[in-house]
Amino acid sequence: MSTQSADGAQGWSLDEWFVVALARTVADGEVVFHGFASPCAQVAMHVARRTHAPGSMLVEGATYAVNPEPAFVPPTSNDLALHRDAVYRMRFEEFFDAACRGAVDRMFLSGGQIDAYGNTNVTAIGGMPHPKIKLGGGGGGANISATIGALTVWTTRHGSGRTLVEAVDFLTDLGHRTPAGTRAELGHTGGGPQWLVTELGVLDYTDDGRARLVATFPDVTVADVEKATGFALTVADDVGTVPEPTPAELAAVRAVDPLGVRRLEFGPADLARRFGPAA
């Protein structure tokens, strides 16, 4: 199988690799969900199911369709195109009840700000009630980030230096520890953030709930990541390079996302990053 991308160039782009890295956080047999406004996570879930996690159960964003096989991913999360071949569509309340009682294993979450514990702000830069920038809002995260088995957090704006912050201006979705206490102290049943995937690299979480850099993309150094990170960054002893995408994974990304909606999450500089034979 060729790794040639749709436009005929050899190798692969950062957006493709990023989605593959996200996809690899899904374990086979898991029940996984993404929210709306999450094209990278959306594409990643389908890539996971078409590659290493065929036994995962995918709940499709704002449609709550179970294991659909869309011909393409449209740029909005609530579209009939995303139901294709789904045997079942959960009701809104059915999905959220399942998530609240712990029947959902993994959710993808992003944020305009993310702190060391994986708390995210999708409500307002500058906080409320006087926001500097009013973001869209958190959807269901303020509830189900507390209860879902594990969270994959992602951002495509790590390099901005403004996304991974010491303290979020508004805490919308729950990481491992908030100013009000740990998840256990707050009575929350879910496991919290397990992975943080950024356009610079991949992080996991230490036992005390802080993000730890475990791998970078090959054009990024640990120093680059430290510089872009607003909190004291823990770095694994054996930081490596994010494992390369396989031809099958790249093919899956391109098949799932012919419209390239994943690219909507990246700035021009990151969209220009290319890797592999012709990079």
């Binding site: 369709a65 740029p75 809104f92 009013k134 269901g140 303020a142 507390a146 009000a180 009575g187 909507l264």
Partner: protein, 302 residues
């Protein structure tokens, strides 16, 4: 609480339908994101000049943004307002929040669901998972906590929320108000049962038998008024009829981001006109082409 609506013929006009919405009312908007939003009713609300609304719901876009831009909204209580990664932040909503002219009491999907369920179940409150440790409760003095009488656990608690009026749009419905929706229903079922008044627009008013064959999602007895409004969700989608109008949404976002005269021009052109004019201007008919082939469907999103 909520009584049933037993009239046999509930047909009315858009104008009479939105007259149910008084200044200052709590209004639930059906649909979600850019799908099945009750846009013909929203446009009629703007024409009516309604002010001071408290809008409640889960994830919304042009419906809320247009109402905010037109000055109809005092308080916004949704889990999300925006145009996803595609068209970005909601311009009027954002401007209102940042300038302080709009009170945003952001909610979350499960919290809103739980408040509606409390109203539907006839209890004054319900406990709900999550929230504790987040900053959302700082926006909601009306929320609280409750101690489980059995486990001693402290949970978030929220009061019942019975909207004064729910505005819903459905692809088909009958004169008595039986509505068929395609999935996802989002919160429409809960709005229908929890709200005091339910006003529905439908793309097509059909025989009861056709609604029954498709499946009655919202029963007549919870619906107060029904109005036929072809392409009534446009520029959002209402399958199986039509996909959403990406170019129109982009035109809206551009006008709303510019604000001022540009926004007024949008209102003059698309809102302060009758629906037939609106449909002609927007060429809504072309959006039914989605069903011809996957290729044509994709084309609508490019």
């Amino acid at each position: 609480m909520t009584g049933f609506h037993l009239a046999a013929d509930k047909r009315t006009t858009l104008e009479e339908a939105v007259a149910h919405v008084r200044d200052g009312a709590t209004v639930a908007l059906g649909g979600g994101l850019a799908a099945r939003l009750p846009m013909a009713l929203v446009r009629a609300l703007v024409r009516q000049g309604t002010t001071g609304l408290r809008v409640v719901g889960s994830a919304h876009s042009i419906d809320v943004d247009l109402l905010v831009g037109a000055g109809a909204v005092a308080v916004c209580e949704e889990s999300y307002v925006g145009f996803e990664q595609d068209l970005g932040l909601a311009p009027a909503f954002r401007r209102g929040a940042e300038s302080g002219s709009l009170v945003v009491r952001e909610s979350s999907c499960v919290t809103m669901l739980t408040q509606l369920r409390a109203a539907e179940m006839g209890v004054p409150f319900l406990p709900v998972r999550g929230l504790l440790g987040t900053d959302l409760p700082t926006l909601h003095p009306e929320w609280g906590t409750v101690t489980c009488p059995f486990t001693g656990q402290v949970l978030a608690a929220v009061p019942a929320l019975a909207p004064d009026v729910a505005l819903l749009h459905a692809p088909i419905g009958d004169t008595a108000g039986n509505l068929h929706l395609d999935q996802p229903y989002v919160l429409d079922e809960r709005f229908a049962h929890a709200s005091r008044v339910v006003v529905a627009s439908v793309d097509r008013l059909v025989d009861t038998a056709e609604v029954v064959a498709a499946g009655v999602t919202v029963p007549a007895h919870v619906v107060t008024a029904v109005v036929e409004a072809p392409f009534g969700a446009h520029p959002t989608s209402c399958y199986p009829g039509y996909a959403y109008d990406r170019s129109h949404l982009a035109e809206y976002v551009k006008a709303a981001a510019a604000g001022g005269e540009a926004f007024e021009a949008y209102l003059d052109r698309y809102v302060r006109v009758d629906e037939q004019t609106y449909r002609d201007l927007t060429g809504a008919e072309r959006l039914t082409a989605w069903s011809a082939s996957d290729e044509q469907w994709q084309e609508l999103f490019r």
